[in-house]
């Protein structure tokens, strides 16, 4: 096999502070930097519409307008909360578009479009493996596309993705050992093709792995390595993306096991210095998983919560948006009289009410991540322990997980 190793100039990840197993660092891709731990909010840049509607997407559209500081949203600028964004190839057909519109969407990279002028963040282009698992490919109104690695990469490239993952085959809880092995091997074959296809494309390449605990992830790596032969993972990949955790998103015990297990496997295989991205997990799990060593996250929950009328007070506490007193928040959304009015229901379309709520929710997540980074960077473990104690440790549903990660990753209480 003759494969070119990664374009080292494209990506750099440095860990400059650790507290227990938690780490704070800087991820640089093509000159764009992001402090870690951090989150890539999911944005459907393409949501069924055309140029004049910022390519649509209902609530996503309003989010994009807030990133653009558009007149439609009272010129409120929220671009600073979107230093990165997750866009999945799989979401391109979520709105039942035709083939012609897909071609329009893929005609230009996201960051080169004037429609997205306010966005200058890092684009994490997911391969859509999870969507592929559920639907078996992309399903438009007048076309069907069986997703294969070549097609996925072409779309990731056309979207202007800066962090790319190979096309993976996520596992599901019902999978047998043999099924997981088969998925690992197919993922490995895709990963090899992905390397070949992307050898001259300047992006960070993340290798997807799947499993719920150390042993599953170790086996997954074994199978990958078996297919890779003498291919050394760090020479070809810039990071690891841990997937298949969405069905377990409410099971924090499993999430902790998975991230702890993944970090241990990575460390044992000499991959400890690579960034670890956790696919599809956010909110209250972020402090727990950052404490056990996750570096980046992505999730659409900020927008899903808004669509369901939920306004974040913190990553733990939500309130029905109709009952909220916005004066307690100083984010740009809640500071705008016009947007407050819309969130109270004085909006023509539901998206104009929920879009600002979504961006506020993202602001809360970003603020929380800033606090986490600050505590990791502080000397000693007390700051991070105290943070966990006063947040997750004070909530009945998350307390035991906070205590677990303090005990296991920060040296414990006693």
């Amino acid at each position: 096999m003759s494969l070119r190793t990664k374009l080292t100039q494209a990506t750099e990840f440095t860990v400059d502070e650790t507290t227990g197993d938690a780490r704070a660092g800087i991820l640089t891709v093509n000159g764009n930097t992001m402090e870690t731990p951090n989150i890539f909010p999911v944005i459907n840049f393409y949501g069924g519409g055309r140029s004049e509607s910022v390519f649509g997407g209902s609530t996503h559209r309003t989010v994009k307008e807030l990133i653009n500081s558009a007149e439609r949203v009272d010129n409120v600028d929220c671009s600073e909360f979107f230093r990165g964004a997750m866009m999945s190839v799989g979401s391109l057909t979520d709105y039942g578009i035709g083939r012609d519109l897909l071609d329009v969407y893929l005609a230009e990279p996201i960051k080169e479009r004037p429609e997205f002028r306010g966005f200058d963040g890092m684009i994490f282009a997911d391969s859509g493996g999870y969507k592929n698992l559920k639907k078996g490919g992309l399903d438009g109104s007048d076309f069907e596309l069986d997703l294969n690695q070549r097609q996925v990469f072409e779309m990731q490239k056309k979207l202007g993705g800066e962090i790319l993952v190979n096309l993976d085959l996520p596992i599901v809880p019902e999978d047998s050992f043999e099924e997981r092995i088969e998925k690992a091997r197919k993922t490995a074959q895709n990963a090899i093709e992905f390397i070949r296809l992307s050898e001259s494309y300047p992006a960070a390449r993340f290798l997807t792995v799947h499993g719920y605990n150390y042993s599953m992830i170790d086996t997954f790596f074994d199978e990958l390595q078996d297919v890779f032969g003498n291919m050394n993972i760090p020479s070809f990949f810039d990071g690891i993306a841990l997937g298949s955790l969405v069905p377990k998103k409410d099971n924090k015990e499993t999430l902790i096991n998975a991230v702890q297990g993944c970090r241990k496997v990575m460390s044992e295989r000499g991959l400890g210095s690579m960034p670890l991205h956790v696919l599809g997990i956010s909110r209250a799990s972020i402090p727990l998983l950052a404490t056990v060593g996750a570096d980046t996250f992505d999730s659409s929950s900020y927008i899903q919560a808004a669509i369901n009328g939920k306004y974040y007070h913190s990553i733990l506490k939500t309130e029905a948006v109709d009952d909220v007193d916005f004066s307690h928040c100083d984010c740009p959304v809640c500071s705008s009289a016009e947007l407050r009015s819309r969130m109270r229901g004085n909006a023509e379309y539901r998206k104009d009410k929920m879009g600002p709520v979504a961006v506020h929710n993202q602001y809360v997540q970003m603020k929380e991540l800033r606090r986490i980074r600050r505590h990791i960077r502080k000397e000693g473990k007390e700051g991070l322990i105290e943070y966990l104690e006063n947040t997750l440790g004070r909530d009945d549903s998350t307390r035991k997980y906070a205590h677990r990660v303090v005990n296991e990753s920060l040296g414990g209480y006693f």
Binding site: G393, R394, R399, K400, H403, E408, G412, Y413, F414
Partner: protein, 528 residues
């Protein structure tokens, strides 16, 4: 015109004194008084008399003056402000007696007080009076001697009911003798406590000597050897002082405790079931009051823990047995803080290791028990001492081992459905046959099981042949049945008068007989 509400003094005294149900509460109140009087030593003796118990409490505290004596006898008129007995209720338990005598010396002045027949008078709706006299000579020793005669202890202080271990347990769990204050307070005042029971009550020892300090067992952080590796494991937690914030301000809670195995827990003066003594205790004045075991999540048994959380802002009922401000914000904050604190403990890797050691011990004990059983079974196999099978599967297994039946057919078991009437499908000389399997042939008839779908009846033994003959004589469910004991067959008549037949295999006879087979190659190899 304004009216003052009236108080029926006699009823109030009677009510408060009656609230003290356990006679041991007298010890708690006496010790609290001695502690408040800054005694360094207190002796208590209990003697049983026909009309109740005679109790003497003698301490070297600062004694009482006239005002203090008034508080001692009055109700709700305590001179104390920041001490245990500030309500002036506790000593009213002494009223449940025939006589109270107090000799007390404070600042060189000795006062003697006496109250006669207090309980009888209260019950006659009469307020008992007490008389105080003053000794003329000065005394250099301060302290208080209280003699309670005829204390109405019910059967609580009877021989067999009251023992030194029981008193020791009560002292450490319910009185200032079990104080955890010394873990927190540098100015802790130590008090030696001696309790002497009359030999008629418990003559197992001369007396019990302890202090007012609750001491946890020594730590042992690693598992031990033997069958119960976690039984002596013990880890102490705290002392921790936490400030609670609540609606009405702030409160301090002082928490100290341990997690431990049974053997380590038994190093404490336990008495009776651990489930009534261990868990999370809320305390005031460092005297344990009530448990809040809900503070430990359901998957961790509270029995492994003994935590004491002292908070001076909880309020107690008159007899100190209950917390009465449970709906207050301070109590709710306390509940929350304890749940939080105990969650840290139950997720301590040491505690998880302790639980693992317990499980490992359990598995090792199971393995050891299985090994004993295996030895037993091996012995039986080696001696060819074939015991009766315990279930149908064993009967089939024995038959399969034999390889042939009494009809000379080779037999293999092809299918087994223990819940069905046709329990097995067997291959007999190449024919698949439906088989019922029973402990005995008689059991099949006793159970009124059907015959028609069955090709062969596989039984461990015949059962009572006379009972079978009776069935043959009287008929089976109104139809004829005939047993051919010599040829292992039975014939029967079905519901429409047709005749059926089936073979009977008596497995116990088969496995104890030398095997006879038409085809030697189908026989299982004999053991040698």
């Amino acid at each position: 015109m304004k009216h003052k509400p009236k108080v029926n003094e006699v009823n109030e005294f009677l009510e408060i004194a009656s609230d003290f149900e356990d006679p041991l509460e007298l010890l708690r109140e006496s010790l609290s008084n001695s502690y408040d009087a800054q005694a360094s030593m207190v002796d208590i003796s209990i003697r049983t008399q026909p009309n109740g118990s005679d109790i003497v409490i003698d301490d070297d505290g600062e004694g009482m003056d006239h005002d203090d004596l008034e508080s001692f006898f009055d109700l709700g008129n305590s001179n104390k402000t920041d001490s245990i007995g500030y309500k002036g209720h506790g000593t009213k338990i002494f009223y449940k007696s025939d006589e109270i005598v107090v000799n007390t010396t404070k600042n060189g002045k000795t006062l003697n007080a006496k109250m006669e027949r207090p309980w009888e008078k209260l019950n006659n709706r009469e307020l008992p009076e007490y008389e105080v006299t003053e000794d003329q000579g000065a005394s250099s020793r301060s302290g208080t001697l209280i003699k309670i005669r005829g204390f109405k202890s019910g059967q609580g202080f009877d021989p067999g009911s009251l023992t030194y271990p029981k008193i020791h347990n009560y002292l450490k769990w319910k009185t200032i003798a079990g104080s955890t204050a010394h873990f927190f307070n540098d100015e802790f005042q130590e008090m030696e406590i001696n309790v002497t029971l009359d030999d008629d009550i418990d003559d197992s020892r001369d007396s019990l000597t302890t202090t007012n300090k609750f001491e946890f067992p020594d730590e042992q952080l690693t598992p031990g050897d033997g069958q119960f590796p976690a039984e002596r494991m013990c880890k102490r937690y705290g002392p921790d002082e936490i400030i609670l914030e609540h609606e009405n301000g702030t409160s301090k809670v002082q928490i100290v405790g341990m997690a431990a195995g049974k053997k380590a827990r038994n190093e404490l003066p336990t008495f009776g079931r651990h489930s009534t003594q261990f868990g999370v205790w809320l305390a005031k004045d460092h005297i344990k009051v009530e448990r809040l075991n809900e503070a430990i999540s359901h998957d961790n048994e509270f029995i492994h823990f003994l935590f004491v959380a002292n908070c001076q802002d909880i309020e107690l009922s008159a007899n100190r047995e209950k917390i009465r401000n449970k709906s207050s914000s301070v109590y709710q904050a306390l509940e929350e803080e304890l749940s939080h604190h105990l969650s840290k403990v139950t997720h301590d890797p040491w505690f998880e290791g302790y639980l693992d050691a317990r499980r490992q011990g359990e598995i090792a004990r199971k393995a050891s028990s299985e090994l004993d059983k295996i030895e037993d079974r091996l012995g039986k196999v080696r001696s060819e001492d074939l015991t009766e099978p315990n279930n149908r599967a064993e009967i089939l297994f024995r038959l399969q081992q034999s390889g042939t039946d009494q009809h000379g057919y080779s037999v293999t078991i092809e299918d087994y459905q223990p819940a069905d009437e046709v329990t097995a499908i067997v291959d007999r000389n190449g024919n698949l046959e439906a088989a019922a399997v029973q402990d005995s042939l008689y059991a099949h008839f006793y159970d009124e099981a059907p015959l028609e779908p069955i090709d062969v009846l596989i039984c461990w033994e015949w059962g009572d042949k006379d009972q079978l003959r009776e069935i043959q004589r009287k008929g089976y469910l109104g139809a004829d049945v005939q047993f051919d004991f010599d040829n292992n067959r039975l014939r029967y008549e079905n519901g429409v008068g047709e005749t059926g037949e089936c073979d009977v295999i008596i497995v116990s006879e088969q496995v104890s007989q030398p095997q006879t087979t038409e085809d030697e190659s189908t026989v299982s190899p004999a053991t040698d």
